[in-house]
Symmetry: C2
Amino acid sequence: MTPDGSAYHHGDLRAALLAEAAAMIDEAGTSSVTMRAIGRRLGVSRSAAYRHFADKSALLVAVAAAGFDRLRDRLEAVGAGAPGAGIERLRQVGEEYVRFALENPGHYRLMYGKEAVTREDRPELREAANALFDELVRIVQTHQRSGTIERRDPHLQAYVAWGAVHGLASLLIEGQILTAVDADELIRQTTSTLLDGMRAGRRPT
Amino acid sequence: MTPDGSAYHHGDLRAALLAEAAAMIDEAGTSSVTMRAIGRRLGVSRSAAYRHFADKSALLVAVAAAGFDRLRDRLEAVGAGAPGAGIERLRQVGEEYVRFALENPGHYRLMYGKEAVTREDRPELREAANALFDELVRIVQTHQRSGTIERRDPHLQAYVAWGAVHGLASLLIEGQILTAVDADELIRQTTSTLLDGMRAGRRPT
DNA sequence: CGGTTATGTTGACATCGTCAACAGACTCGC
DNA sequence: GCGAGTCTGTTGACGATGTCAACATAACCG
C-alpha cells in the first residue's frame, strides 16, 4: 500500500472487491454478482479479481465469512454488558440476530449455503461460522450461570437456539410468512417460546 | 398420452424432466442441473424442455413445489392417526420434518430460495409452501384442542414451530453442526425445548 | 539501477440459457 | 381417409459468463 492511501495500481483492490460484492448482493441478489460486472463497477478489468481470489466462489466465501464476523460482533455487543444478565438481555440477543438477517437479506442468504459454497472444503467459512457459534455458546453459558436458563449441555442448547432464530430469519427473508402476520410479534413469540423451553426443568428426553 | 404409456414423441417428457431434475439435484447439487445436461440424460435435445417450462427457473420452481407437496404428505401421515394425539405424536411430526430434509438435502435446499427462485412472482411455489403451512396450522390446532399445547394464535405458533425445525434442518444440511454432536440427540433436544415452550402457560410478552 | 515479484489487461475458449427457424408426429373435421 | 392445424422436439445461433494463458506495467528490494 502506498503512503497516500490510493495505492498500488488500483488501491486496496481486495477490500474493494469484498465491499462491492457485498453491496451488489444486497442491491440485486447474489445472481447479479458476476466477475465482469463487479470489475465494471470498480473500473478494473474482468479478471483483475483473480489476483486476489482463486475463483468466484472464493470471493463469495470471503464475503460470507465477513458476514459471520459482523453478526458475531453485533451479538457480542448485545450479549455482553451487565454480567448478571437476565432473561431480557438473552431475548435481545435473539432479536438482534433476526434483525441482522432482515437488514442484510442477500448477505445473510449467502452465508447459509445459497451457492455450492457452504462446504467443508471452505475452511475460512467454517471458521467464521464456528466463531459465531462459539459466541452463542458463551452467551448460553453466561445465562446458565446466572440461572436464567436450565443447565444442560451448552453446545446442544446453543444449537437449539441458533436453529430457532436462523429458521425464523430464513422464513422471513424468503417471504414465507403471510403478510398479514406482524413480524415483530412473531419474533417476540419465537423468543418467548424458545426461552420458556430453555427454562423448563424437564430432562431432554 | 398414448394408450401404451410410452407416448407422444418421447413419452411424458414433462414428468421425466421433473424426476430427472430432482435426481440430479440430490446427486450433485442444484448447480449441476443445466438444461443441456438434463436433456443429455433423458436423450432429448437441449431445448426440448422449453416446450414444457417457460425457462429453467420455472422448471426448478416446479421441482421445489413438488417437494413441498411430498413433505406435506409425510407430515400429514404422521400428524393424523389417533385423534387424541399426545405430545409424542407432535414430537414425531417435528422429527419427520427434519428427517425429510436430511434425506433430500438438495431438494430441500431448493425449496427454500437457493436460487433467485423463491419469490412472490412464483405463485405455484407460494401455494405449495402455503399448503404445507396450512397443514402445520391444522396439526397445531388439533393439539391445542387435545390440550397438548397452550392455546394461542395457531398461526403464530405454527410459524414458531416451522422456524425451529426448518432452522435445525438447515444447519444440519449445510454442515454447520460440529461432527462431534449426535444429530439424533440434537433433534430430540430441539423438539423437547420447542414443545416445552409451547406448553408453558406464559403470555407471549 | 536492474531484476524479481505483485498487480492488472487482453485474447481466447468452453459452457450456459434462450430464442428463432425448422421438422416430424399426432389430432380432428370434413 | 386425408389435409389443416397443433403439439412436440431439433438445430443453429447469440450474448453472457467463469476462467486460463500470455502479456504488460508498476512497485519493491538489493
